[in-house]
């Protein structure tokens, strides 16, 4: 009886559809342990799908194309990792030595500055803050060493999950979309399909552009470091390219390993150090003035305040991954809201 009325059927279809989607989203996205690798896998799939498609136009099947890309990526990433892991384990044993060295260095510099200021202005700077800061640093490093196993466990989980998810997302996203569309109610079918398509395309364009940008920045830095004959140039370049994807703080994050390495190996004031910093500065300047504007047609039109707020909110919910995906997601949401607005507020002949 309830089902016999036409309007009721439509309402029930809609409610059923919304409930299923909400259930799926809440189960998957509420848990950061799944949502972070899943989002990373989604981003990777968006960046890699154009390459898969161009390989498919060379008459490879989809599975073959994906396997080929994964093998290439595994080789490209695995080799530096092989070199990196022994290095990291050696360095973490040295970690205990590093902190006192940094400490003594900072105290030295601070005394220097104190004398300088005293000479010029006769004013004594209090040194309580500096020692407090150093104590904080010690505490933090102690707790960091304790938490390393946790981080490592997370990373091991991700190293397995992310490629696994990426493979299946690239391979099966079409059939997933078909299934989703097949039980969408007729009333909202066209609008829903259109909105999902534009959402996907915007996200895809943004991440593909970011991917290209990361490759360019990473490439410049790797080549520069190789020319300067600095150890671990490839790894540093790779890290710099990767961290460039994070908005605002990315470039700074990328410089940190280089600064740490330079400080330990070459000393703070050597010309090599200065050259490294200049190199990073040049790479970022090239990025901002040449790469960014050319990709600007793919990058979204959002007010800077909204960008900053969305990055902060993203970092709160999903850490670094949140910061990376927050900008395109907010842009896509803006698109959806604009569509709905046009739908509701347009004058129509009814």
């Amino acid at each position: 009886m309830i089902l016999s009325n036409r309007k009721n059927i439509t309402k029930i279809q809609l409610v059923f559809f919304v409930v299923v989607i909400a259930l799926f989203c809440s189960l998957v996205l509420a848990l950061p342990r799944i949502s972070i690798p899943l989002s990373l896998a989604y981003i990777l799939s968006l960046a890699l799908t154009p390459i898969v498609e161009s390989l498919m136009s060379l008459k490879l099947t989809k599975t073959q194309a994906i396997v080929l890309i994964f093998t290439v990526l595994a080789v490209l990433i695995g080799l530096p990792m092989f070199k990196l892991i022994p290095l990291l384990s050696a360095e973490s044993q040295n970690f205990h030595n590093v902190i006192p060295r940094i400490e003594s260095y900072i105290i030295q510099q601070f005394q220097f500055i104190r004398e300088f200021v005293k000479l010029r202005t006769g004013h004594e700077i209090g040194d309580a803050y500096v020692y407090q800061g150093l104590e904080e640093l010690q505490n933090w490093s102690a707790s960091f060493v304790v938490r390393i196993p946790n981080y490592l466990a997370n990373i091991m989980e991700w190293i397995f999950l992310v490629p696994f998810f990426t493979f299946f997302i690239i391979r099966d996203s079409e059939s997933f979309k078909r299934t989703l569309l097949s039980f969408t109610p007729n009333v909202i079918f066209e609008r829903f399909y259109y909105v999902i398509h534009v959402f996907n395309r915007q996200l895809g364009n943004y991440f593909f552009a970011k991917f290209v940008e990361a490759v360019i920045v990473g490439g410049i830095i790797t080549i520069g470091l190789l020319l300067l004959d600095i150890k671990y140039a490839v790894i540093l370049g790779f890290i710099a390219g990767l961290t460039n994807i994070v908005p605002y703080v990315g470039p700074f994050l990328g410089v940190i390993p280089a600064i740490v390495l330079g400080m330990l190996e070459y000393g703070m004031t050597s010309p090599t150090m200065g050259a490294v910093v200049t190199l990073y500065a040049i790479a970022n300047v090239v990025d901002i003035f040449f790469v960014f504007p050319f990709l600007v047609s793919k990058i979204v039109n959002l007010h800077p305040m909204i960008v900053a707020v969305s990055v902060i909110v993203g970092s709160h919910y999903m850490g670094i991954t949140g910061m990376v995906i927050s900008i395109p997601v907010v842009a896509a949401i803006k698109l959806i809201i604009t569509e709905i607005y046009n739908e509701i507020y347009t004058e129509r002949s009814r």
Binding site: R6, F189, E190, H197, N342, E343, S349, R350
Partner: protein, 209 residues
């Protein structure tokens, strides 16, 4: 399939009941097999259907098979509205089965619907939405009985252009030919009406003076 199953039951009931067990299996299985939306028979039926559509006569069979992969099956109940006039549309529909009525809504009221076109199996409608940006539907489409429509939408066309540009070009060519015919016809009609109005105006002026 269902009718043959019932016929067999009737006949089996008259004769021997022993044979019935074997016969139920085969036709029941056939019926269930055909009713399954994912069965191979289903997958082959859309290209066969597309072969009979006048608009796509330039396509080869393989191209129709590939095109069918990009289309969606939509089912509509009796009296359900496919799209309303003025809505933003993105889909181009072929009628797989059933009857569709196209009508103009009179401003404000839904009661006085002018039905101007009734389409049956192998007919198509909504082609402007596939080509135009932000197209607003020019008529309301209503399913007069239980309909099954095969639709292709703008996102599908985008994907088709990337993966199979030849098929996408042929599709756009076929739709453009249909639209060009319609435009030609309408231009003729418009010029005829223009002449007629001029005649009436001239007559009206001569009557007044």
């Amino acid at each position: 399939m269902a009718s043959s199953y019932e016929k067999e039951i009737r006949e089996a009931g008259k004769d021997k009941k022993v044979e019935l067990a074997k016969k139920i299996d085969l036709s029941m299985m056939k019926y269930l097999w055909m009713a399954n939306p994912l069965s191979r028979a289903r997958k082959h039926s859309i290209p066969k259907f597309l072969r009979n559509v006048e608009l796509l006569k330039n396509f080869s069979d393989n191209e129709l098979r590939i095109l069918a992969k990009y289309m969606h099956n939509r089912k509509f109940a009796e009296g359900e509205i496919v799209f309303r006039e003025g809505e933003v549309g993105i889909g181009f529909y072929f009628i797989y089965s059933g009857i569709i009525e196209l009508s103009h809504d009179d401003l404000g009221t839904e009661i006085s619907n002018e039905k101007f076109l009734i389409l049956e199996e192998f007919g198509y409608f909504g082609e402007l939405a596939l080509l135009q940006e932000g197209n607003q539907r020019t008529a309301t489409a209503l399913a007069r009985n239980k309909c099954e429509l095969v639709g292709i939408f703008k996102p599908d066309l985008d994907n088709l252009i990337v993966r199979h540009p030849v098929i996408a070009a042929k599709l756009i060519q076929s739709i453009s030919i249909a639209l060009a015919d319609r435009l030609y016809f309408l231009t003729n009609e418009a010029s005829k009406m223009h002449k007629r109005i001029k005649q009436l105006e001239a007559r009206h002026d001569s009557q007044q003076s």
